[in-house]
Symmetry: C2
DNA sequence: ACAACTTTTGCAACAAAGTTGCATTCTTGA
DNA sequence: TCAAGAATGCAACTTTGTTGCAAAAGTTGT
Protein backbone atom coordinates (compact mmCIF):
# COMPACT_ATOMS: atom_id res chain seq x y z
CA UNK A 1 0.00 0.00 0.00
CA UNK A 2 1.57 3.21 -1.18
CA UNK A 3 0.12 5.92 1.03
CA UNK A 4 -2.37 6.51 3.78
CA UNK A 5 -5.32 7.62 1.68
CA UNK A 6 -5.07 4.53 -0.50
CA UNK A 7 -4.87 2.41 2.60
CA UNK A 8 -7.99 3.94 4.11
CA UNK A 9 -9.93 3.45 0.90
CA UNK A 10 -8.89 -0.18 0.53
CA UNK A 11 -9.68 -0.91 4.14
CA UNK A 12 -13.19 0.42 3.60
CA UNK A 13 -13.66 -1.63 0.46
CA UNK A 14 -13.84 1.41 -1.79
CA UNK A 15 -12.23 1.66 -5.17
CA UNK A 16 -9.27 3.97 -5.28
CA UNK A 17 -9.86 6.96 -7.51
CA UNK A 18 -8.06 10.23 -7.99
CA UNK A 19 -10.92 12.20 -6.48
CA UNK A 20 -11.27 10.16 -3.35
CA UNK A 21 -7.56 10.12 -2.74
CA UNK A 22 -7.30 13.82 -3.28
CA UNK A 23 -10.11 14.57 -0.86
CA UNK A 24 -8.74 12.19 1.73
CA UNK A 25 -5.28 13.71 1.39
CA UNK A 26 -6.81 17.09 2.05
CA UNK A 27 -8.41 15.82 5.23
CA UNK A 28 -5.16 14.24 6.34
CA UNK A 29 -3.13 17.35 5.56
CA UNK A 30 -5.44 19.85 7.25
CA UNK A 31 -5.75 19.35 10.95
CA UNK A 32 -9.26 20.74 11.10
CA UNK A 33 -12.74 19.98 9.90
CA UNK A 34 -13.62 20.87 6.33
CA UNK A 35 -16.81 22.12 4.76
CA UNK A 36 -17.85 21.18 1.26
CA UNK A 37 -16.62 24.55 0.08
CA UNK A 38 -13.20 24.09 1.64
CA UNK A 39 -12.82 20.85 -0.23
CA UNK A 40 -13.98 22.26 -3.52
CA UNK A 41 -11.43 25.03 -3.36
CA UNK A 42 -8.72 23.14 -1.53
CA UNK A 43 -8.19 20.09 -3.70
CA UNK A 44 -5.09 19.88 -5.78
CA UNK A 45 -7.09 19.02 -8.89
CA UNK A 46 -10.53 20.39 -9.66
CA UNK A 47 -13.43 18.02 -9.13
CA UNK A 48 -17.06 18.40 -9.95
CA UNK A 49 -19.26 19.65 -7.15
CA UNK A 50 -21.44 16.61 -7.51
CA UNK A 51 -18.48 14.29 -7.15
CA UNK A 52 -17.54 15.95 -3.90
CA UNK A 53 -21.07 15.63 -2.53
CA UNK A 54 -21.14 11.98 -3.44
CA UNK A 55 -17.67 11.30 -2.12
CA UNK A 56 -18.45 12.91 1.21
CA UNK A 57 -21.64 10.87 1.46
CA UNK A 58 -19.72 7.68 0.71
CA UNK A 59 -17.11 8.50 3.32
CA UNK A 60 -19.86 9.18 5.84
CA UNK A 61 -21.54 5.88 5.08
CA UNK A 62 -18.28 4.02 5.49
CA UNK A 63 -17.42 5.80 8.69
CA UNK A 64 -14.29 7.35 7.27
CA UNK A 65 -15.41 10.84 8.21
CA UNK A 66 -18.02 12.19 10.58
CA UNK A 67 -20.09 15.32 10.30
CA UNK A 68 -20.01 18.13 12.77
CA UNK A 69 -23.13 20.23 13.31
CA UNK A 70 -22.94 23.97 13.65
CA UNK A 71 -25.29 26.85 14.09
CA UNK A 72 -24.21 28.46 10.85
CA UNK A 73 -25.87 25.76 8.75
CA UNK A 74 -22.55 24.75 7.28
CA UNK A 75 -21.78 21.14 7.96
CA UNK A 76 -18.15 20.35 8.37
CA UNK A 77 -16.53 16.96 8.16
CA UNK A 78 -13.53 15.49 9.87
CA UNK A 79 -11.59 12.27 9.61
CA UNK A 80 -12.59 9.66 12.10
CA UNK A 81 -9.68 8.49 14.16
CA UNK A 82 -8.33 4.99 13.75
CA UNK A 83 -10.29 3.49 16.61
CA UNK A 84 -13.62 3.96 14.93
CA UNK A 85 -13.54 1.61 12.04
CA UNK A 86 -17.12 0.46 12.12
CA UNK A 87 -18.86 0.74 8.82
CA UNK A 88 -21.97 2.84 8.88
CA UNK A 89 -23.24 4.98 11.72
CA UNK A 90 -20.93 5.23 14.62
CA UNK A 91 -20.56 7.33 17.70
CA UNK A 92 -17.88 9.89 18.05
CA UNK A 93 -17.20 10.32 21.63
CA UNK A 94 -15.18 13.50 21.50
CA UNK A 95 -16.28 17.09 21.56
CA UNK A 96 -15.83 19.57 18.76
CA UNK A 97 -14.48 23.04 19.10
CA UNK A 98 -15.12 25.94 16.81
CA UNK A 99 -12.90 28.99 17.13
CA UNK A 100 -14.70 32.29 16.75
CA UNK A 101 -11.52 34.01 15.65
CA UNK A 102 -9.93 31.79 13.05
CA UNK A 103 -13.24 29.93 12.53
CA UNK A 104 -11.54 26.60 12.38
CA UNK A 105 -13.39 23.60 13.68
CA UNK A 106 -11.40 20.91 15.42
CA UNK A 107 -11.96 17.58 17.05
CA UNK A 108 -10.79 17.64 20.65
CA UNK A 109 -10.09 13.93 20.81
CA UNK A 110 -8.77 14.23 24.32
CA UNK A 111 -12.04 15.58 25.70
CA UNK A 112 -14.75 12.97 25.79
CA UNK A 113 -18.41 13.79 26.02
CA UNK A 114 -19.72 13.44 29.56
CA UNK A 115 -22.63 11.15 30.19
CA UNK A 116 -26.02 12.77 30.51
CA UNK A 117 -29.12 11.16 31.93
CA UNK A 118 -32.15 11.64 29.74
CA UNK A 119 -35.65 11.87 31.19
CA UNK A 120 -37.59 8.63 31.47
CA UNK A 121 -38.79 7.27 28.17
CA UNK A 122 -36.05 8.73 26.02
CA UNK A 123 -33.57 6.44 24.32
CA UNK A 124 -30.19 7.84 23.39
CA UNK A 125 -28.51 6.86 20.19
CA UNK A 126 -25.97 9.50 19.29
CA UNK A 127 -24.66 12.49 21.09
CA UNK A 128 -23.01 15.57 19.77
CA UNK A 129 -21.29 18.38 21.54
CA UNK A 130 -19.90 21.53 20.00
CA UNK A 131 -18.14 24.22 21.95
CA UNK A 132 -17.39 27.61 20.50
CA UNK A 133 -14.77 29.97 21.83
CA UNK A 134 -11.17 30.91 21.21
CA UNK A 135 -8.67 28.23 20.34
CA UNK A 136 -5.17 27.73 21.59
CA UNK A 137 -3.40 29.31 18.62
CA UNK A 138 -5.61 32.41 18.59
CA UNK A 139 -5.07 33.62 22.12
CA UNK B 1 -51.84 43.09 26.41
CA UNK B 2 -54.07 40.80 24.49
CA UNK B 3 -52.10 37.60 24.02
CA UNK B 4 -48.76 36.04 24.63
CA UNK B 5 -47.16 36.70 21.27
CA UNK B 6 -48.00 40.40 21.48
CA UNK B 7 -46.60 40.49 24.96
CA UNK B 8 -43.32 38.91 23.91
CA UNK B 9 -42.92 41.34 21.03
CA UNK B 10 -43.63 44.38 23.18
CA UNK B 11 -41.26 43.17 25.86
CA UNK B 12 -38.52 42.92 23.28
CA UNK B 13 -39.24 46.38 21.93
CA UNK B 14 -40.39 45.11 18.56
CA UNK B 15 -43.34 46.45 16.65
CA UNK B 16 -46.26 44.10 16.55
CA UNK B 17 -47.04 42.88 13.07
CA UNK B 18 -49.21 40.13 11.71
CA UNK B 19 -46.25 38.15 10.48
CA UNK B 20 -44.32 38.23 13.72
CA UNK B 21 -47.35 37.35 15.76
CA UNK B 22 -48.23 34.52 13.46
CA UNK B 23 -44.73 33.05 13.62
CA UNK B 24 -44.57 33.43 17.37
CA UNK B 25 -47.97 31.79 17.72
CA UNK B 26 -46.69 28.87 15.71
CA UNK B 27 -43.72 28.49 18.05
CA UNK B 28 -45.99 28.69 21.08
CA UNK B 29 -48.46 26.20 19.66
CA UNK B 30 -45.94 23.59 18.54
CA UNK B 31 -44.00 22.10 21.37
CA UNK B 32 -40.94 21.42 19.26
CA UNK B 33 -38.28 23.25 17.33
CA UNK B 34 -39.15 24.53 13.89
CA UNK B 35 -37.11 24.85 10.73
CA UNK B 36 -37.62 27.66 8.29
CA UNK B 37 -39.58 25.32 6.09
CA UNK B 38 -41.93 24.32 8.90
CA UNK B 39 -42.72 27.95 9.48
CA UNK B 40 -43.27 28.71 5.84
CA UNK B 41 -45.79 25.93 5.51
CA UNK B 42 -47.21 26.09 9.00
CA UNK B 43 -48.28 29.69 9.33
CA UNK B 44 -51.97 30.47 9.25
CA UNK B 45 -51.42 33.15 6.63
CA UNK B 46 -48.84 32.99 3.89
CA UNK B 47 -45.76 35.15 4.34
CA UNK B 48 -42.94 35.87 2.01
CA UNK B 49 -39.88 33.69 2.43
CA UNK B 50 -37.75 36.77 2.91
CA UNK B 51 -39.98 38.01 5.69
CA UNK B 52 -39.58 34.74 7.53
CA UNK B 53 -35.80 34.84 7.21
CA UNK B 54 -35.74 38.38 8.52
CA UNK B 55 -38.18 37.68 11.31
CA UNK B 56 -36.19 34.69 12.52
CA UNK B 57 -33.03 36.76 12.46
CA UNK B 58 -34.73 39.49 14.46
CA UNK B 59 -36.01 36.99 17.01
CA UNK B 60 -32.52 35.52 17.31
CA UNK B 61 -31.01 38.95 17.86
CA UNK B 62 -33.54 39.74 20.55
CA UNK B 63 -33.08 36.42 22.25
CA UNK B 64 -36.67 35.36 21.68
CA UNK B 65 -35.62 32.16 19.98
CA UNK B 66 -32.41 30.17 19.85
CA UNK B 67 -31.04 28.05 17.06
CA UNK B 68 -30.32 24.37 17.32
CA UNK B 69 -27.58 22.85 15.21
CA UNK B 70 -28.01 19.49 13.55
CA UNK B 71 -26.05 17.17 11.35
CA UNK B 72 -28.58 17.45 8.54
CA UNK B 73 -27.69 21.08 7.81
CA UNK B 74 -31.19 22.19 8.70
CA UNK B 75 -31.16 24.73 11.47
CA UNK B 76 -34.14 24.60 13.74
CA UNK B 77 -35.31 27.27 16.13
CA UNK B 78 -37.08 27.10 19.43
CA UNK B 79 -38.58 29.61 21.83
CA UNK B 80 -36.31 30.58 24.64
CA UNK B 81 -37.86 30.01 27.97
CA UNK B 82 -38.89 32.92 30.15
CA UNK B 83 -35.75 32.96 32.25
CA UNK B 84 -33.54 33.97 29.38
CA UNK B 85 -34.60 37.47 28.57
CA UNK B 86 -31.23 38.90 27.74
CA UNK B 87 -31.12 40.71 24.47
CA UNK B 88 -28.52 39.45 22.08
CA UNK B 89 -26.41 36.35 22.34
CA UNK B 90 -27.18 34.16 25.27
CA UNK B 91 -26.37 30.70 26.43
CA UNK B 92 -28.93 27.99 26.49
CA UNK B 93 -27.97 25.61 29.11
CA UNK B 94 -30.23 22.73 28.18
CA UNK B 95 -29.66 19.88 25.80
CA UNK B 96 -31.60 19.27 22.62
CA UNK B 97 -33.09 16.01 21.54
CA UNK B 98 -33.87 14.92 18.04
CA UNK B 99 -36.11 11.90 17.57
CA UNK B 100 -35.07 9.64 14.72
CA UNK B 101 -38.60 8.31 14.35
CA UNK B 102 -40.87 11.35 14.35
CA UNK B 103 -37.92 13.63 13.58
CA UNK B 104 -39.09 16.24 16.01
CA UNK B 105 -36.48 18.29 17.80
CA UNK B 106 -37.17 19.29 21.37
CA UNK B 107 -35.56 21.27 24.13
CA UNK B 108 -35.03 19.12 27.18
CA UNK B 109 -35.13 21.99 29.62
CA UNK B 110 -34.78 19.66 32.56
CA UNK B 111 -31.43 18.28 31.39
CA UNK B 112 -28.65 20.81 31.69
CA UNK B 113 -25.39 20.54 29.83
CA UNK B 114 -22.65 19.07 31.99
CA UNK B 115 -19.45 21.02 32.46
CA UNK B 116 -16.48 19.94 30.36
CA UNK B 117 -12.90 20.87 30.93
CA UNK B 118 -11.19 22.08 27.79
CA UNK B 119 -7.48 21.54 27.18
CA UNK B 120 -5.15 24.33 28.30
CA UNK B 121 -5.32 27.39 26.13
CA UNK B 122 -8.89 27.02 24.97
CA UNK B 123 -11.49 29.52 26.05
CA UNK B 124 -15.11 28.44 26.11
CA UNK B 125 -17.84 30.77 25.03
CA UNK B 126 -20.87 28.76 24.05
CA UNK B 127 -21.70 25.13 24.29
CA UNK B 128 -24.19 23.06 22.41
CA UNK B 129 -25.34 19.53 22.91
CA UNK B 130 -27.66 17.56 20.69
CA UNK B 131 -28.72 14.02 21.40
CA UNK B 132 -30.46 11.87 18.82
CA UNK B 133 -32.52 8.81 19.63
CA UNK B 134 -36.13 7.84 20.20
CA UNK B 135 -38.40 10.17 22.09
CA UNK B 136 -40.93 9.39 24.78
CA UNK B 137 -43.96 9.43 22.50
CA UNK B 138 -42.38 7.21 19.85
CA UNK B 139 -41.48 4.22 21.98
C1' DA C 1 -58.09 60.04 15.41
C1' DC C 2 -54.70 61.81 12.40
C1' DA C 3 -50.46 63.10 10.20
C1' DA C 4 -45.48 62.45 10.07
C1' DC C 5 -42.07 59.33 10.74
C1' DT C 6 -39.98 54.88 11.16
C1' DT C 7 -40.26 49.82 10.40
C1' DT C 8 -41.60 46.06 8.15
C1' DT C 9 -43.07 43.66 4.17
C1' DG C 10 -43.22 41.79 -0.53
C1' DC C 11 -41.28 41.59 -4.90
C1' DA C 12 -37.71 40.86 -8.16
C1' DA C 13 -33.48 39.43 -9.17
C1' DC C 14 -29.60 36.98 -7.71
C1' DA C 15 -26.23 33.77 -5.64
C1' DA C 16 -25.21 29.61 -3.43
C1' DA C 17 -26.14 24.89 -2.07
C1' DG C 18 -27.79 20.49 -2.99
C1' DT C 19 -30.09 16.71 -6.06
C1' DT C 20 -31.05 13.55 -10.05
C1' DG C 21 -30.53 11.07 -14.46
C1' DC C 22 -27.65 9.67 -17.86
C1' DA C 23 -23.78 8.93 -20.83
C1' DT C 24 -18.78 8.46 -20.48
C1' DT C 25 -14.70 7.10 -18.15
C1' DC C 26 -12.16 4.70 -14.81
C1' DT C 27 -11.26 0.43 -11.43
C1' DT C 28 -11.18 -3.99 -10.34
C1' DG C 29 -10.95 -8.92 -10.45
C1' DA C 30 -10.66 -12.89 -13.26
C1' DT D 1 -6.12 -7.55 -20.93
C1' DC D 2 -10.94 -7.37 -20.88
C1' DA D 3 -15.58 -7.38 -19.34
C1' DA D 4 -18.56 -5.95 -15.50
C1' DG D 5 -19.44 -2.81 -12.23
C1' DA D 6 -18.51 1.60 -9.99
C1' DA D 7 -17.39 6.43 -10.12
C1' DT D 8 -17.31 10.74 -12.55
C1' DG D 9 -18.83 14.86 -15.10
C1' DC D 10 -22.33 17.31 -17.20
C1' DA D 11 -26.78 19.41 -17.66
C1' DA D 12 -30.80 20.66 -15.76
C1' DC D 13 -33.27 21.47 -11.85
C1' DT D 14 -34.90 22.40 -6.94
C1' DT D 15 -34.12 24.43 -2.66
C1' DT D 16 -32.10 27.76 0.33
C1' DG D 17 -30.44 32.15 1.48
C1' DT D 18 -29.37 37.32 0.33
C1' DT D 19 -29.94 42.25 -1.21
C1' DG D 20 -32.10 46.58 -2.82
C1' DC D 21 -36.01 49.09 -3.27
C1' DA D 22 -40.72 50.68 -3.40
C1' DA D 23 -45.18 49.99 -1.16
C1' DA D 24 -47.64 49.07 2.97
C1' DA D 25 -47.81 48.57 7.34
C1' DG D 26 -46.96 50.11 12.55
C1' DT D 27 -45.80 53.79 16.02
C1' DT D 28 -45.68 58.15 18.30
C1' DG D 29 -47.06 62.73 19.64
C1' DT D 30 -50.62 65.91 19.32
Amino acid sequence: MINKSTEILKNSGLSVTAGRKSILDLFIASGNALAHQDIESGCSEQFDRVTIYRTLQTFLDKGIIHSIPATDSIIRYALCNETCTTTGHHHDNHIHFRCEQCSKTLCLDEVSIPIVKLPDGYMMHEINMVVTGICKSCR
